[in-house]
Symmetry: C2
């Protein structure tokens, strides 16, 4: 296969320490691939869970004391709040990048140093992007569960319980995916420093 | 001085390329220090701006149609919303770490590789922490400016205009500080890869 041929010309090779460096490259590559698969699967799952999150409830609305309440069906969905939309977009970007970087990592296998550096930089940008999305979604989630008396925003999760529960799961899964991206940034730094 | 003695034994030295590597270590250190000062000053400023953010307004509240409105003084402050509290805490942690890491970087100056690695890992954690705080504050900021009709959360920034403006400035400053931390993580990776 062409891949193994490329592999022999890996930039990780150092003259006189070929086999040792080769072993390091293999373990680094395997770790990298596992983390990338994890990051991809988790952010994809988070995006699917929040995109599929929808709950319709029939709410009684009292228009006047003399009249019986009016029953109105209300639906909660991700596109109704910009923070949840942003959370979905960040996870969609991260899982798309995760898939692409996985393909690049498989094809590249440490061949191009420049490509690997670019990927670590993009990994770091994904950490920033994902954590901002998690923060935004968690902030409106807390408001949904608890409300805020100072600004008179009433809690809504007592009504849309299934919607809020599914959103909480999505945030949790996205958070683990974000940690996978964080590890993708951190562990190579630790390894490179050790070898520098 | 002991420091310069240690410096000669710096782990960045490579036999036969001493002066070149030394130059790189110096430039890396200078860049690192400037970025750390920036990250510290910006996150400290963001924390101070949000902590000092307070606005009191006298709001007319109509209790009944037949009675004149009741004028109630209402105060907006950072401790009234968990997302803003979290934003303040993340910036406080980041600026404290920024100050400590600046001292360590000044004392260390590339002497201990392990310490430098630890600092890069902590820098990456600060990126995650700060961006989650920025995301949370921005999410409630958008709700404050626009409100949300689906959950009947009314906008409040038309009343607490000065509070919201100051909060927006704080988020902007914190975002630039977060980018400084992101650069602290990314640029050494780029440099190390180039030298690996």
């Amino acid at each position: 296969m062409e891949g193994s041929d490329y592999y022999k010309r890996s930039s990780y090779e150092v003259e006189g320490a070929e086999s040792k460096e080769m072993g390091k490259a293999v373990s680094m590559s395997a770790y990298d691939l596992v983390m990338r698969v994890l990051a991809f699967v988790l952010t994809l799952s988070a995006a699917i869970v929040i995109a599929a999150d929808k709950q319709t409830k029939v709410i009684p609305i009292q228009l006047s004391d003399s009249l019986p309440p009016l029953y109105v069906p209300l639906t909660a969905k991700w596109n109704q709040m910009s923070a949840i939309l942003y959370f979905l977009v960040t996870n969609a970007i991260a899982c798309t990048y995760g898939a692409l970087s996985l393909v690049v990592a498989l094809v590249n296998r440490g061949k191009s140093k420049g490509l690997w550096t670019l990927m670590t930089v993009l990994d770091a940008i994904m950490v920033a992007l994902l954590f901002s999305g998690n923060g935004a979604a968690a902030a409106v989630g807390v408001l949904g569960y608890k409300g805020n008396s100072h600004v008179n925003w009433k809690k809504v999760c007592n009504v849309f319980d299934k919607f809020c529960g599914q959103m909480a799961v999505s945030i949790g899964v996205s958070l683990i995916g974000s940690l996978a991206f964080l590890l993708l940034v951190v562990i190579p730094v630790v390894r490179l420093h050790r070898r520098a």
